[in-house]
């Protein structure tokens, strides 16, 4: 990213990034976030991320997989958030590498839920 030279520049940059994100969100790609803080990584999140990417490749499912920080559900690590085009994000807990395959097969490819969905239980500040 190039240097931001003024406050107006920062504003412009932000707007550009936001529209890039909304374009990404409207695309056909499934957005996947894997919680990769110390807790998640200790429970195998890195491996889970690889499995998800490989499975999506194998099945030709367009997906953008990124890492993120701790989602707070230590009891259910590894946790993965999945946003399908036009749908609300869903957080899945207990996604071991084996479960990750199942997640891609059932929820990504079809629309079948797993039984380890974690309901949203907080309000988030939007700035």
């Amino acid at each position: 990213m190039e240097k931001i030279k003024s406050l107006a520049d920062l504003k412009k940059k932000r707007e550009d990034l936001q529209s890039a994100i909304s374009i990404r969100e409207q695309s056909e790609n499934i957005q996947v976030k894997v919680a990769m803080a110390t807790c998640g990584i200790a429970s195998g999140a890195k491996h889970v991320m690889e499995v998800i990417m490989n499975e999506c490749n194998k099945r030709n499912i367009p997906a953008t997989v990124t890492q993120t920080g701790c989602m707070g559900y230590c009891y259910a690590e590894p946790t993965v958030e999945v946003t399908k085009p036009g749908q609300k994000p869903v957080v899945f807990g207990y996604i071991t590498p084996l479960k990750a395959e199942e997640l891609v097969a059932k929820y990504f490819a079809g629309n079948e839920m797993l039984d380890t969905v974690i309901p949203v239980n907080y309000e988030k500040v939007e700035l």
Binding site: S6, T38, C70, N121, Y122, L127
Partner: protein, 489 residues
């Protein structure tokens, strides 16, 4: 709040949502907009005033009003001032700050720059424990990216403001989280506390005014600036505003990282957010404040959690460890656990803490070994008071709290240990015996074969018996018995 969610994420607003290694994600979510707004307004006094009015208090444990600290640091004139971020996080079981740094490092960098602008400092240092390699890695990436885009470094966003941030690594001593010890450690001296005043905001690092804030305190700052102090001050109780992040742990179903508004009750935290006690056992107590705090019992389940109520209840907010205990937890052992930690972590500079805590530990050990008497309980109380009154720094001044609060709330349990030589929770090894009920035992010999020291004798098909003198109380027999004939007394 319009909905019924028990949690509000302010400090954790980006954790688990953005890629912490990509500054674009942060900027897209209005990152660095608070810094921009502060630079544009160009009125440090007004920003400090807003932080004061927000009611934000330090999240590192002490609860000192953040705006007041900033004001002191701004009014102390010097050729050089410093902004310090305390990321030492030494409480056993705490990981709030680590999660913020791993999930949203830029929020802390941005807040430090805002603080620098407000107090007139252009140098920031983060003191982080070396045991946090991932947080360190992500901070280093974040600093590099922020410098590249001009959010840190020289001439930030073309406004002429300069601010640099560097990391300093701690070796993980609990006492180095105390701000004066932290500063000495950074200066290359021994990490030992010194008497306050002077406070760091008056005379800190290299004798220059130094504003020390905790990671979570900083993470709140950009939100206060963008949403306004009125918005922030509307959350919480009269004297404790905003939210607190807790690491919820222990005998609770949903262990994890939570952020709740000040004023929430323990009942809501345990039963609604934490989904209740594990294995449907009975709630016994909640420990907050770590080695400096105390236990809250059933009678406090409906007390609104804030700085002042927790102190009135004999505990403290601390940095955010929250450990739930059930009927199987022995409160004398809990106190002993924390004293063991304190003895290990005392820097040894002053006698009450160095020697006093050791004696407290020995008394507790004696009691859990079944060798205590009533005088020991008196001595525990007296010695605790002396240590609190005479120790030099916060570590020693608060280290007897786990003892005092368990004595206060669980007196009968202490008495049972010394008078009846019993541990009601069945935790203290020396005080428990494994007993075979002759009416239930069918003489299958499974336990005798499992016992590692051969303490169980008996004829086949006849009731067996455990020799209490050789039994090492490992519990192996109880696991093996299929007829529930073995119990703990």
């Amino acid at each position: 709040m319009e909905n019924n969610y028990k949690q509000i994420r302010i400090a954790l607003r980006n954790c688990g949502f953005i890629n912490p290694e990509n500054i674009e994600d942060y900027i897209a979510r209005n990152g660095y907009a608070a810094l921009a707004s502060v630079l544009e307004t160009n009125n440090p006094q007004a920003t400090i005033e807003a932080i004061k009015k927000s009611g934000l208090r330090g999240r590192g444990g002490g609860g000192f009003p953040t705006g007041v600290k900033w004001e002191i640091a701004s009014k102390n004139h010097a050729d050089q001032k410093y902004v310090f971020c305390n990321a030492d996080e030494g409480d056993p079981g705490a990981f709030m700050d680590r999660s913020i740094l791993e999930g949203d490092p830029h929020s802390v960098l941005e807040a430090m720059a805002i603080n620098g602008f407000c107090i007139g400092a252009n140098k920031g240092l983060i003191y982080i424990r070396a045991e946090y390699p991932l947080a360190i890695e992500r901070l280093l990436i974040a600093i590099k990216q922020a410098e590249e885009v001009g959010a840190l470094g020289q001439n930030i966003f073309g406004t002429g403001f300069n601010f640099d941030i560097e990391l300093r690594y701690g070796a993980g001593a609990f006492v180095c989280g105390e701000e004066t010890a932290l500063i000495h450690s950074m200066e290359g001296d021994r990490g030992e506390p010194t008497f306050k005043p002077p406070f760091p905001a008056q005379e800190g690092y290299l004798k220059k005014p130094t504003n020390v804030n905790n990671v979570e305190t900083f993470a709140n700052i950009p939100v206060i600036i963008l949403k306004g102090w009125e918005w922030f001050a509307a959350i919480g109780t009269e004297k404790s505003k905003g939210t607190k992040v807790f690491a919820l742990a222990g005998k609770i179903n949903n262990v994890g990282l939570i952020e709740v508004p000040m004023g929430i009750t323990l009942r809501e935290v345990i039963y609604e957010i934490g989904n209740g006690i594990k294995d449907d056992k009975n709630f016994k107590a909640v420990q907050t404040g770590g080695p400096s705090g105390g236990c809250l019992t059933e009678k406090f389940l409906d007390t609104p959690i804030d700085y002042d109520n927790l102190i009135a209840a004999g505990s403290m907010m601390g940095s955010g460890g929250m450990i739930v205990m059930d009927e199987d937890d022995c409160m004398v052992s809990v106190a002993k656990f924390y004293l063991d930690f304190t003895v290990e972590e005392s820097c040894g500079k002053c006698a009450p803490c160095r020697i006093g805590n050791k004696r407290l530990y020995e008394l507790l050990d004696k009691i859990t070994e079944g060798k205590g008497n009533m005088e020991d309980l008196d001595q525990l109380k007296n010695l605790s008071k002396v240590i609190k009154d005479t120790a030099l720094c916060g570590l020693g001044q608060t280290s007897p709290n786990p003892v005092l609060s368990t004595i206060e709330n669980f007196w009968e349990e202490y008495v049972a240990h010394v008078n009846e030589k019993k541990c009601p929770a069945g935790q203290c090894k020396a005080l428990k015996s494994y007993i075979i009920d002759p009416d239930l035992c069918i003489g299958c010999t499974a336990c005798a074969r499992a016992c590692p020291v051969g303490a169980i004798k008996g004829e086949k098909k006849m009731p067996h018996e455990i020799n209490q003198n050789t039994c090492i109380k490992c519990g192996a027999c109880m696991e093996k018995c299929k007829f529930n004939a073995i119990s703990i007394k």
